[in-house]
């Protein structure tokens, strides 16, 4: 999208550089004059928050790596050493561990924002799919990192997740052995998980660059879901408008992050992870980190190994097909009365699955998990395609300006 002001190099050096590598005009076009719809609400600050969290996780992670030892007999103690001996080690570790939770909180809000306002629809399908790829890489990174402290939950999470692959017919066991580097989770596993936990975040950085590139080609969606028609009238330059608004969002987000880190640093953790890994004892009740609970509930809901694992992966991958499963031409839920209700039911189903994922897999919990898992898939495969056909949308404004004149700027 063409920006508001054209960059003109002012200094002699800038002119010299511009002719050789036009990076200054590229940055100006992407982050200063880049046009943002003027009706964006605060749900649009999560892109900036997520960028901030990615950097925060990499910075705290790199410094923690300077003190951590990826060896089964030393790993747990090296983490305790970080907590007790390393200067600021307690804060750095708690910031990194809770940073993962905040990162996932932000990404879930970002994803639900996209679902509510139909941000995945034409022409933003590739942008959306890149987002799903980033989400899956985040899940991989979060899992790999959770194994490193080598506590009981670390060890058994590694065991359960690597064994998911053993459900694959014929080659499953060979794949699991290959992933583990042995017949059970042991030193080779910890060593490679550490190497990969360090690598994957940088792959995320690369995919985020593609995600932002795709965003800047199509332009941002907005609460009305109506595409920008007049850049001069309906958009404002990214700097200062979006940068300042994002800064407010990040500051508010940091309040929660700081509260978690400094006041209740172990609230979201599991006490069993302060017990060193013991390959001969499975904790009586193992649960993943909160951000994996809905998917864990889906896995446990199905009393068949292969189908359960398939459902787990399908529940994530299905989101990539959203642009084609949602048949409605109208993007924003603001003008979709039926979808608007269904959206909140779906949010409730996801939260319900999260709750059930933390409960024992038995009795009534199991049956609720089955009902909600079924609803989760019905939402994507049946309800969304059907709603798009039968729903009568409310009149969509002709333009962003028309939407603002209707007084629709105050959603969220």
């Amino acid at each position: 999208m063409e920006g508001h002001s054209q960059y003109t190099p002012k200094s002699g050096f800038a002119r010299w550089l511009e002719r050789r590598l036009p990076i200054l005009s590229f940055m100006h076009g992407s982050f200063v004059s880049y046009p943002t719809p003027k009706n964006l609400n605060y749900m649009w600050v999560f892109g900036a928050i997520l960028s901030f969290m990615l950097v925060a996780q990499i910075v705290t992670g790199v410094v923690l790596a300077m003190h951590y030892t990826p060896e089964t007999t030393l790993a747990f103690d090296s983490v305790e050493k970080i907590m007790r001996d390393v200067n600021w080690g307690t804060v750095l570790r708690y910031a990194h561990a809770n940073g993962a939770s905040m990162f996932f909180l932000a990404v879930y809000l970002h994803i639900f924002r996209g679902m509510y306002y139909g941000s995945y629809k034409d022409p933003r399908e590739v942008l959306w799919i890149l987002g799903v790829v980033i989400f899956m890489l985040m899940m991989a990174t979060g899992f790999l990192g959770y194994v490193l402290p080598w506590g009981q939950m670390s060890f058994w999470a590694a065991t359960v997740i690597t064994n998911l692959f053993s459900a694959i017919p014929v080659v499953g066991t060979a794949i699991t052995t290959w992933l583990l580097g042995g017949y059970s989770v042991d030193n080779p596993t910890l060593n490679r998980f550490y190497a990969l936990h360090y690598l994957v975040p940088f792959i995320i950085v690369a995919i985020v660059a593609l995600h932002v590139w795709a965003l800047h080609v199509t332009g941002q969606n907005n609460p009305s879901g109506v595409e920008v028609k007049d850049i001069k009238k309906e958009t404002v330059p990214f700097t200062p408008y979006a940068t300042m608004k994002d800064a407010v969002g990040i500051a508010a987000f940091l309040v929660v992050y700081a509260w978690l880190t400094f006041f209740v640093p172990n609230y979201l953790g599991h006490p069993d992870n302060y017990i060193e890994a013991n390959p001969l004892v499975t904790p009586p009740h193992i649960v993943p980190e909160w951000y994996f609970l809905p998917f864990y509930a889906i896995l446990r809901a199905i009393p068949n190994k292969l189908l359960g694992v398939t459902a787990l992966f399908a529940s994530i991958l299905i989101t990539a097909a959203l642009p084609w499963l949602d048949t409605s031409k109208v993007k924003s839920a603001v003008y979709r009365p039926l979808f608007r209700k269904e959206f909140w039911i779906f949010v409730a189903v996801c939260i319900g699955l999260g709750y059930l994922g933390a409960q024992p897999a038995e009795g009534a919990y199991l049956w609720f998990a089955r009902v909600l898992s079924a609803y989760y898939f019905l939402h994507f495969l049946v309800i969304l395609p059907v709603i798009g056909k039968v729903e009568k949308p409310e009149p969509v404004p002709e333009s962003i300006d028309a939407s603002i004149m209707r007084g629709e700027t105050s959603h969220v």
């Binding site: 998911l164 053993s166 042995g182 059970s184 446990r300 199905i302 292969l306």
Partner: protein, 176 residues
């Protein structure tokens, strides 16, 4: 080649086309060969592959007890079954088993049950003397095993595995 030549004989591969394809194929083969060590290095190394064996003295295991020994990094359950437990395991009709296997096929001496203590669902360690059949219960996802280590309910697809073992004395076994 001029455009006229190409138009005249469009489908005729030249010597040069074949050389191009052969060169490309050789390069692809070489690249695959170079990638292989990068993938294969993740498989178990020589020290992991070296098969360890474990000896267990059974005389120290009283009737009704389960001991857990470590073999190849995995727990192995050795259960000294009581006559009632043996009877319950033997009397179970195969028709009620998801993975039908007779108890006699899973033991060498009926009083000694030797099984790998790794749930066949996702690799957790089941806890002994729990679950509906007082066999094993997996706390992770609720698989229930009976007194022969056979899957009875829950998501696990197969029975607990029986490791290779042999009686090297009246009350001593060697696993592996």
């Amino acid at each position: 080649m001029t455009s006229k030549d190409t138009a005249a004989k469009p489908a005729e591969p030249s010597r040069r086309d074949i050389l191009y394809i052969a060169t490309g194929a050789a390069a692809a083969g070489a690249a695959a060969g170079m990638v292989w060590p990068l993938i294969a290095q993740m498989n178990p190394d020589a020290s992991t592959l070296a098969l360890a064996s474990t000896e267990v003295d059974l005389s120290s295991v009283p009737e009704g007890q389960i001991v857990t020994v470590k073999w190849r990094g995995k727990p192995v359950f050795v259960r000294h079954r009581t006559p009632a437990e043996i009877k319950a395991a033997e009397d179970t009709p195969l028709s009620v088993l998801p993975d039908p296997e007779a108890d006699s096929k899973r033991v060498q001496k009926p009083e000694w049950l030797v099984i790998i203590g790794v749930c066949t669902h996702l690799g957790c360690i089941p806890t002994g003397k729990e679950g509906e059949y007082n066999g094993w219960f997996c706390p992770c996802h609720g698989s229930v095993y009976d007194l022969s280590g056979r899957i009875r309910s829950g998501p696990a697809p197969t029975n607990l595995e029986v490791p290779p073992y042999a009686f090297i004395a009246e009350s001593k076994i060697k696993i592996g």
